[in-house]
Symmetry: C2
Subunit: 116 residues, 2 copies
DNA sequence: TTACGTGCAAAAAATTTGCAGTTTC
DNA sequence: GAAACTGCAAATTTTTTGCACGTAA
């Protein structure tokens, strides 16, 4: 599964998979996503539910990133921050909590939409 | 709606509401939640889907807090951090993004469960 | 009136499950 | 052959919608 492009929901992944093998079923997609999620190989997002109640998935990379969803134009942008890393380390030490997955999603207005 | 207690899902809110007025319908709950969400009066969480695919709601207070969900015992804990506030300010200035809502959820192992 | 909020019933969207047949080791 | 994976069909769960009615400004 080449989840190279990001932020795909289960239906999109199904369609992509069926382009390679038309017999692939929805349940296989969901079962595989569950597996990958448990292994920590993908991250699950909901992008502030701007486009409905579904979930989106992306390959987990070394560096976590923040997702920002524009409430007006729907654009999704990403941001990597040392402060985010610092925050996670603070949670781990202050709360004695071993972090496995983390997700920071922000809804608001992007630069372009603020100007209108 | 006394969402005093937190992290209630739509079904729980419906049951609570029906205790006061038995005729309340599911759709009213969902419509009200949509409204409150748009007004920024409540926050929507999914608590890392530890207990299923639903969503949880809580009154939005002055200070945002981080939610941590223990993948073993299911306990949800909360944490307030200045670093989180700093991170949000960084996003606003570095990305020129006007934040309306933000949500940081973390999955991992709580102090007690790490020791087992 | 005109807009709004509601219950009701039905639909739609998202995800899960049981089962039987294959493949894999 | 046991364990794991799959497609298929059907079921569940979660959320939304159309509609008719009542209410409030």
């Amino acid at each position: 599964m080449e989840m190279a492009k990001k932020h795909l929901d289960a239906a999109q992944l199904l369609r992509k998979a069926q382009r390679l093998d038309a017999s692939v079923d929805r349940s296989t997609v969901y079962r595989t996503l569950q597996l990958l999620k448990r292994q920590g190989l993908i991250d699950e997002l909901d992008l502030m539910h701007i486009h409905g109640e579904g979930h989106y998935y992306e390959r987990k990379l070394n560096r976590d990133h923040i997702h920002m969803a524009c409430l007006r134009c729907g654009k999704i942008s990403e941001f990597v921050s040392d402060v985010f890393e610092k925050l996670k380390r603070q949670v781990e030490s202050d709360c004695r909590f071993r972090i496995v997955v983390s997700r920071l999603e922000i809804g608001g207005y992007c630069n372009a939409c603020q100007k209108r």
